[in-house]
């Protein structure tokens, strides 16, 4: 065995025997460092003849490469072993609970507000609003409900105390005052919905002193009952996410529409939950009609030039029907258990493209 072969065997042996990175580094220095065995031999090359130098240089370089490769390999092996050893000691019980985050929710009334807006927005309706504290005129007079009209008694109105001039403000009993405000502020054609809070002095199992309505108003020069029926059918199909719904118009009376009708949709009841669009029971969902000429006049428009329909329906009731919520009163009690159960995730935003529920 030549001297170099012996050296190689010795160095590679030392590399492979190195138990840790520090020892390995010592070996590296002893072989490849400035004063290392291979480096020392490299220094002798200068004194050699060219031929000798070429031969010995090649041999030394080969040895250097081999030792360096051995070091790299050993280093990698040591690192791997070190990691394995560390990992063997590192452990968490992943079944422990993650750090808690509070889960927020959106109220069903808000969710349904957005659903309704999506549907009617697609049909070209914008969203109008009006104050909750209204004048008698906006809430009644302009809507063809004169003083002493028996219909006033049926409204269970919340009143404020009379002012010095004898007038008194009311809490709006319906969203219909927004019809008048819209007519006063806009030109025809008009297509609006007006969702919002409404108030009646009434409280029992199925009535709360505050509830939510959505008003609809279409005014132009040609809209008639057929358009109303279409509009409501399309709304109900989209809202209840069914392919078809049967609709029944029942003649009724509202002072602000003429003709007036109540609207039922077909449904079936199973275990107290309603299914819309199937079955042969009828479910009353709203009141509607053609806007009364006196109301158009009160809005500052000419009933000989302008006609159209209006409707009003309960947002809370729509939410109850769609989402199987049994009790209206619970909507307004802010019971966290209820809010979490019937509420919606913040990112569950209803869209027509993605679906409403």
């Amino acid at each position: 065995m030549t001297e170099l072969a012996e050296l190689e065997s010795q160095l590679v042996g030392a590399v492979e025997a190195a138990p840790d990175e520090a020892t390995l580094d010592t070996v590296r220095v002893s072989a490849l460092g400035k004063k290392g065995a291979i480096s020392e031999r490299m220094k002798t090359l200068g004194a050699m003849s060219p031929d000798e130098r070429k031969q010995a240089g090649q041999a030394l370089n080969a040895l250097k490469d081999k030792v360096a490769a051995a070091i790299a390999s050993r280093s990698a092996a040591l690192k791997e072993a070190g990691l394995e050893a560390r990992l063997a000691t590192e452990f968490v019980d992943v079944t422990l609970p993650a750090r808690p985050e509070m889960q927020g929710s959106v109220h069903p009334v808000s969710q349904v507000w957005e659903e309704i807006t999506q549907i009617f927005g697609d049909m070209g309706f914008s969203v109008a609003e009006g104050p909750h504290i209204e004048t008698d005129w906006y809430n009644f007079g302009a809507l063809n409900i004169p003083d002493d009209h028996p219909a006033r008694q049926e409204h269970d109105t919340f009143y404020f105390n009379p002012k010095q001039d004898g007038s008194r403000m009311v809490l709006r009993t319906h969203t219909s005052p927004v019809q008048i405000r819209t007519m006063q502020e806009s030109d025809t054609p008009i297509r609006i919905i007006a969702p919002g809070r409404t108030y009646r002095c009434d409280s029992d199992q199925t009535h709360t002193p505050m509830f939510h309505q959505v008003e609809g108003l279409v005014l132009d020069d040609k809209t008639h009952l057929g358009h109303l029926k279409w509009c409501l059918e399309e709304f109900c199909k989209a809202f209840f996410e069914v392919d078809a719904v049967e609709m029944r118009f029942r003649a009724s009376h509202f002072p602000f529409t003429e003709p007036s009708m109540e609207v039922d949709i077909n449904c079936s009841w199973e275990k107290g939950q309603v299914k819309v669009g199937v079955g042969d029971s009828w479910l009353e969902i709203l009141g509607s009609g053609m806007v009364h000429p006196n109301v158009i006049r009160a809005g500052g428009l000419d009933p000989d030039q302008v006609q159209g329909f209006a409707f009003g329906m309960g947002i809370d009731r729509l939410a109850m029907l769609k989402y199987g919520i049994p009790d209206l009163r619970a909507f307004f009690e802010a019971d966290l258990r209820w809010l979490r159960h019937y509420g919606f995730r913040s990112l569950n935003v209803p869209t027509l493209a993605g679906g409403l529920s």
Partner: protein, 800 residues
């Protein structure tokens, strides 16, 4: 309004079934609220006769009856004391469900004797509470006949809801008219008798008013009838009245009820011998008292109309008669009153006195002004038929307030407004059947409105009449024109902000509540409300008396309720209106939230802490950011409205006059007053205070990101404790705007060797070089500039 099928058929000649009639009623707008049909409920019960009743061999109290039934001779064991040979009763065969016991009958053996059916009591049929014995009919009826028919219970009762515009449908006759127009039969001509009087009425009538407009009573018809005998009314009348929920009293009283419900024409009948002088209508004297037929004494005022004689008020006009002059079983002479009272005044009086009667209900909606005399004549005929007697001539004061009017109905209008194609001939037919006097005038039908329809005031009403009778089920859907191929956005900036704030707050772990717009006065006052113009005059309870001045109050109350239910950590928010006054501009849209308790539940790896003002601040700033407020340029200043903790609350504003919101701990006194335990923090954001965005461009400015690494330097300053940190941060930021990209506080320290009234703020400043790496000299220069700027602005010293 209730009526029976037989009563309806008194006026309507029809073969329609009860189902068809109900569908027709619903169709024309007379909503059927219920039908009681005992004939079908009792269909299984039939007439039987006991051929022989003998003692049960094994039981003293039982009898064994051989009963002739529709199924032949049947043996029944019966325990009723009145079971006897020859009894005509009601039989239920095995298999019948007995409503009064809830049991399905079976053939059984009672004490060793087979029993194949039952002889029924009235309670078992649920037609009365009588259970002393089995039904024992006085007359003979054919074996197997329907028991309901034999008992006179085969007349279904229909209950309809009458909308306030339809006083004409508050009488059975008016309902029959609608159904006839609908095609469900023929309206029988109304036979109003013209009964001449045999003598001059000893009692006169008079209207005594002094310029009231409109006349409180515009017509008064009276008639004296002598020699009547007032006993019970006949069975048919008693049955009809009972069926619609009225108690038969005597023939005279029952007749007035019959005319009220049959024709929508309320009447009053005085005992003529208790009347003194001329019966007249006048305004009541202030404080005048009347003992009414309901046994109550009413105190009247000068806005009310009374019917009076020389003794004083004898009745409240259009509402209720008086006790003193009422009829009883001894009445021999009567005086009929048929009058027309002003609807508005009648309604106002009724409301004031809080008395609801069948008469008021009709007068305030408007009775047929052309039917006053007819009402008196109908009553005369019935009194003569049922009570005998001789009528006087009519006495009449005033005249019928007929408001005759005509409207043109364009022949195309039913189509263009109602969306239904109704043949012209059918339009005429419908209107005529409803009583309109229709004249064809080329393009229009001129329609004179019948006297009983005070609700018709124009062409739209005529369209409604045609549509409701022709059938709204004939309306065909017609698509509305789509305004844009792809729908345009419709929400306003304010609405979008509302939605964004809501979703953001829910995303931050808060649960959205919707609470009342009102609250108790005491709570309103705690939150700056309670103004007189925001107090309801008629609150539903004292707990809901004032409009809310802030959303926080209700959220705090709701938090308390949830805590009481065992929810220690509560996070609630609401987006809604608050009220600073009663004008539209006083209503503002707010988003508020509360957090109560700890930041989270107890956890093995992370220690929860009590919520503090900075939790509320984070919520507020997050909501402001998504709502589009310029959060980079807002000021946060110490202090907030009085319902916040004075030292642990802040206001976010664009300037002193443009406050966007408040946050902090809720004042301990407020929590104490509302009996809610903290820690509890809250914020409120005024969505209406956020300025409109300046630019609506969708495109963003180009990204300005440097490839050079940022440099970070820490500084610790000692400042007076009352200098806001924000001031120091602004000074640091402003020292070298081109280089300083961020300043953050990483430590706040008070006490130690700093001395009283001092604190230390440690900040990290990030320098972002733009076009070349900063040299050490440049970094030193910036550092010096920062220290100088901070020192100058705040009096701070660099901590050694």
């Amino acid at each position: 309004m209730k009526f029976t099928l037989k009563w309806l058929k008194q006026h309507l000649d029809t073969d329609a079934t009860i189902g068809e009639i109900c569908d027709g009623l619903v169709g024309v707008g007379l909503e059927v609220e219920g039908v009681e049909d005992q004939a079908s409920a009792l269909a299984a019960f039939t007439i039987c006769k006991v051929k022989e009743a003998r003692q049960h061999p094994n039981a003293d109290r039982l009898r064994v009856c051989d009963v002739e039934t529709k199924d032949g001779l049947v043996q029944v064991v019966c325990g009723a004391p009145n079971a006897r040979t020859g009894l005509v009763g009601v039989f239920a065969a095995p298999g019948t469900h007995v409503p009064g016991t809830g049991v399905d009958l079976e053939v059984g053996t009672i004490r060793g004797v087979e029993s194949a059916g039952m002889l029924c009591s009235e309670r078992e049929l649920m037609i009365s509470d009588a259970h002393d014995g089995i039904i024992d009919l006085a007359e003979e009826f054919p074996i197997g006949m329907s028991a309901a028919e034999a008992l006179g219970l085969d007349d279904p009762v229909i209950d309809v809801a009458i909308t306030p515009n339809r006083p004409d449908a508050l009488g059975v006759y008016g309902i029959a008219r609608d159904l006839a127009a609908k095609g469900l039969g023929t309206l029988k001509p109304l036979d109003v008798p013209d009964i001449p009087g045999g003598y001059k009425s000893p009692i006169g009538v008079d209207l005594r008013f002094d310029g009231e407009d409109p006349l409180p009573c515009s017509m008064f018809v009276g008639r004296h009838i002598r020699g009547v005998k007032n006993g019970p009314s006949p069975d048919w009348l008693q049955r009809w009245l009972l069926a619609i929920g009225l108690r038969p009293i005597s023939a005279l009283v029952d007749i007035t009820n019959y005319v009220t419900f049959g024709f929508g024409r309320p009447l009053h009948v005085f005992d003529a011998n208790k009347v003194h002088g001329t019966v007249h209508a006048r305004m009541a004297e202030p404080g005048e008292k009347l003992l009414a037929l309901d046994g109550k004494e009413y105190t009247l005022d000068e806005t009310m109309t009374v019917i009076a004689d020389d003794n004083g008020a004898e009745g409240i006009a259009g509402i209720i008669g008086g006790e003193v002059s009422g009829c009883d079983e001894n009445t021999t002479d009567v005086f009929i009153e048929a009058a027309y009272f002003d609807p508005v005044r009648t309604a106002a009086t009724g409301r004031k006195l809080n008395v609801i009667t069948d008469a008021r209900y009709r007068f305030e909606r408007g009775v047929d002004p052309a039917f006053v005399e007819a009402g008196a004549q109908l009553a005369t005929r019935l009194i003569m038929d049922l009570c005998g007697g001789e009528p006087s001539e009519l006495v009449i004061a005033g005249s019928a307030p007929l408001n005759t009017r005509s409207y043109d109905l364009r022949k195309t209008r039913v189509r263009s407004l109602g969306g239904i194609d109704v043949p012209e001939a059918r339009q005429v037919e419908i209107l005529t059947a409803l009583g309109f006097d229709v004249t064809d005038n080329g393009d229009v039908l001129s329609c004179q409105v019948p006297s009983w329809r005070p609700d018709v005031h124009g062409e739209a009403d005529l369209v409604e009449e045609v549509c409701r009778i022709y059938g709204l089920d004939q309306v065909r859907s017609e698509p509305m024109q789509r305004t844009h191929a792809v729908a345009k956005p419709v929400l306003t900036i304010r609405q979008k902000r509302m939605l964004a704030a809501r979703r953001a707050l829910a995303g931050r772990g808060l649960n959205e509540a919707v609470t009342w717009s009102f609250l108790p006065a005491a709570q309103a006052e705690l939150f700056g409300g309670g103004q007189p113009e925001l107090k309801l005059a008629n609150p539903i309870s004292v707990e809901l008396s004032d409009m809310r001045p802030s959303l926080i109050a209700n959220l705090v109350a709701a938090t308390g309720r949830n805590v009481d239910r065992g929810q220690a950590q509560v996070g609630l928010f609401e987006v809604g209106q608050v009220y600073a006054g009663d004008q539209p501009q006083d209503e503002t849209l707010r988003a508020s939230g509360v957090r109560r308790g700890q930041t989270g539940p107890r956890h093995w790896g992370e220690k929860a802490r009590n919520v503090d003002a900075f939790d509320a601040k984070a919520d507020l700033l997050a909501a402001l950011a998504v709502a589009g407020a310029p959060v980079a340029s807002v000021q946060v200043v110490q202090g907030a409205p009085s319902w916040f903790h004075p030292g642990r609350s802040g206001t976010v504003q664009l300037g002193p006059k443009n406050q966007l919101g408040w946050f902090g701990e809720v004042h301990p006194r407020v929590l104490d007053a509302m009996d809610v335990k903290g820690p509890l923090v809250a914020f409120e954001m005024n969505l209406d205070a956020i300025p409109e965005p300046k630019s609506s461009r969708a495109a963003r400015p180009p990204l300005d990101a440097s490839d050079l690494l940022p440099v970070r330097r820490d500084f610790a300053f000692v400042i007076d404790a009352d200098v806001p940190a924000d001031k120091l941060l602004r000074a640091a930021r402003g020292a070298e705007k081109a280089l300083v990209s961020d300043v953050s506080v990483f430590d706040v320290f008070e006490g130690g060797n700093l001395g009283d009234g001092k604190r230390s703020l440690a900040i990290e400043v990030t320098l972002q070089p733009k076009d070349k790496t900063l040299t050490d000299e440049e970094i030193d220069a910036v550092s010096k500039a920062i220290i100088a700027s901070v020192t100058k602005a705040t009096g701070a010293t660099l901590r050694g």
